[in-house]
């Protein structure tokens, strides 16, 4: 290979770079969903929240010139969506999955409606930290341009993992998720806990959306999410409701997503549809290998409507 390209080294580098670039929205949405599901509710609406967060962040960044204000606005918008889901699900007979699907469509539709005037203008991007500055190879520098949100997401995953075990708030969320009756006996109100957990989950999904529109790919278009919010919800089950698992699964999906384009760029061009399906095949294999008909999923919160 000549000096301008990096040849086959491009593949591992692209997977690394892709894992860092593509995984961040997965990390935030799946951590948010992990909190919500640990409290005993499923919020499928996070796809809509992600799209709405992306639109809000972009719009606010265009209008104010500050990507950070956009980020905050996206988190607040996500919080509102989460709180709405949490509030409506406390009524008897309301199915959280159905409400989630409704909110997913509502969030995307509302984002398309308000996002119309913001497709054309350009917004300022969130800054990246050049962790690759030690290298003089431009490809390595580009792969290691790490956005602050990725680092925050990584720290958040560790913090949540620790907090679920060691803090009072973490234990409250878990007991509500495992048994409403036990929680009530302790004097806790499950609805309030779930309301807060869904709200926080929504806010994190909103931040994930801000990353999409303000950093990578870095523009607001209506197809920006292409189902990433839904995939992140599935990742939570894949990760067995463990925040560290969510982080690892998000990295895996990000890296696997970069595999197809990277292989084609070095000339491995046959069967690219199969490479694109790699992350899903991997998920299927792990799910089948770890499932059992005789017991429910390990780590599943007892109050979750899909495992009850």
């Amino acid at each position: 290979m000549d000096a301008t390209g990096i040849g086959l080294w491009g593949v591992p580098l692209a997977i690394l770079g892709g894992a860092i670039r593509v995984s961040t929205p997965f990390i935030f949405v799946s951590l948010g969903e992990a909190i919500t599901e640990r409290s005993g509710r499923i919020n499928l609406g996070l796809e809509g929240t992600l799209v709405f967060g992306a639109m809000t962040a972009y719009a606010v960044a265009v209008m104010t010139g500050s990507p950070w204000l956009g980020l905050i606005a996206a988190a607040i918008a996500g919080l509102c969506f989460g709180l709405f889901h949490g509030w409506i699900c406390k009524f008897r007979g309301v199915n959280d999955i159905a409400i989630g699907i409704a909110l997913m469509l509502f969030g995307s539709g509302l984002a398309f409606f308000f996002g119309k005037p913001f497709i054309q203008p350009s917004a300022p991007d969130l800054p990246a930290i050049p962790l690759g500055a030690w290298s003089d190879i431009p490809q390595v520098q580009a792969a290691l341009d790490v956005n602050v949100l990725f680092l925050i997401g990584a720290a958040l995953a560790v913090f949540l993992w620790w907090a679920f075990r060691n803090t009072r708030a973490g234990l409250i969320v878990r007991v509500v998720g495992d048994s409403s009756d036990a929680a009530r006996a302790m004097g806790l109100n499950p609805d309030t806990v779930r309301l807060i957990a869904t709200g926080v989950g929504g806010a994190l999904a909103g931040i994930g959306g801000a990353y999409l529109s303000l950093y990578y790919p870095g523009s607001w278009t209506e197809g920006i999410s292409s189902g990433q919010g839904l995939m992140a919800v599935a990742l939570v089950i894949f990760a067995r409701w463990n925040p560290l698992g969510c982080f690892a699964a998000a990295l895996l999906f990000g890296g696997a997503g970069a595999l197809g384009p990277a292989l084609q760029s070095v000339g491995v061009t046959q069967g690219y549809y199969l490479f694109y399906a790699a992350p899903y095949i991997l998920t299927l294999i792990i799910m089948i290998a770890t499932s059992s008909p005789s017991r429910s999923l390990a780590g599943a919160p007892g109050e979750l409507s899909i495992t009850k």
């Binding site: 920006i224 292409s226 760029s265 046959q270």
Partner: protein
Amino acid sequence: MTDRFMLSRRQLLKTSAAGAALGLASVSFPITRAFAAATTVGFIYVGPKDDYGYNQAHAEGAAALKGMEGISIVEEENVPETVDVQKTMESMINLDGASLIFPTSFGYFDPHMLAMCAKFPDVQFRHCGGMWNKDKHPMNAGSYFGYIGMGQYLNGVVAGHTSKTKKLGFIAAKPIPQVLLNINSFLLGARSVDPTITCQVIFTGEWSLAVKEAEATNALVDQGIDVVTCHVDSPKVVVETAAGRGAFVCGYHANQSPLAPEKYLTGAEWNWAKVYKMFVDDLVAGTPLPNFTRGGLADGFVKMSPLGPAVSEPARKQFDATLAEMTKGGFSVIKGPLKSNKGAVVASEGQAFTETAIELESMDYLVEGVVGSTA
């Protein structure tokens, strides 16, 4: 507990009466409007009409009709290629009084547009693509399309002059004949400058996948590719990502130069305004509309973006000369001797296919110099 959510019968009657009144109000408004304008033309887009891409190109064409005397247009965007588009067409005809409809997306044709053709024989339908066949389809239907491969050839000429690494990149959605012709034309344009140039192609598998398009652009730039173009519905992400990494870009569908003023070389754009005006002129004059319409650069169906600041003088000269030659007509991009990148002969010595050649519409190969595979 639950009866808080039960509607009383009185409430139900009240709400439905209000809903009916609202419905009547919205129906009566377009009818009056339909009488005010002599002719209403409907446009249906599959995505947002300001996407810097396919839909924007059509919407710019529709906008060109707005100044015409006695013509009013109705538009609807984000219409999926499902039964939804039939509903949109019905409402454009029944409520807005449209007498000519342009469903612009590929998947609208069969069965949706054909069903409407049968239901409304007095309304004219023209579909963007090449699917109309006079043996199979009704006479109030038709297709129109442009030969944009020539535009990609010109993109290639400029890219060939601009590239320092002699490696170009192409991000494509799906390996269908029209896309393959664009890829081949882009490379052959570049090889008219320097026959050692290669073009790396990456297929994303879908018309609109923002993250994958960004990843593909990054992967190409990582391989030392310094000029990128694409064939996806919205080139916005590709243009911004490539320019962000310091590569040059050639546009497609519409003019993307505002997204990367320094790095944008030129672009192959549709000029649907010309086509739509032609149809509407016929409609107003009362002459039958053509059922099968095609054209290229010479006919004004396709145009090029203005050359960007990074285009060198020799590139500009060859661009102008090639464009002039194409405008005369009879220019062939695919001409022998030419091999596919698998070694098969696709055009023998002396054989040449002009843009109208029917053989090009079943293209299933990538020419020598393109790194990539159609499956």
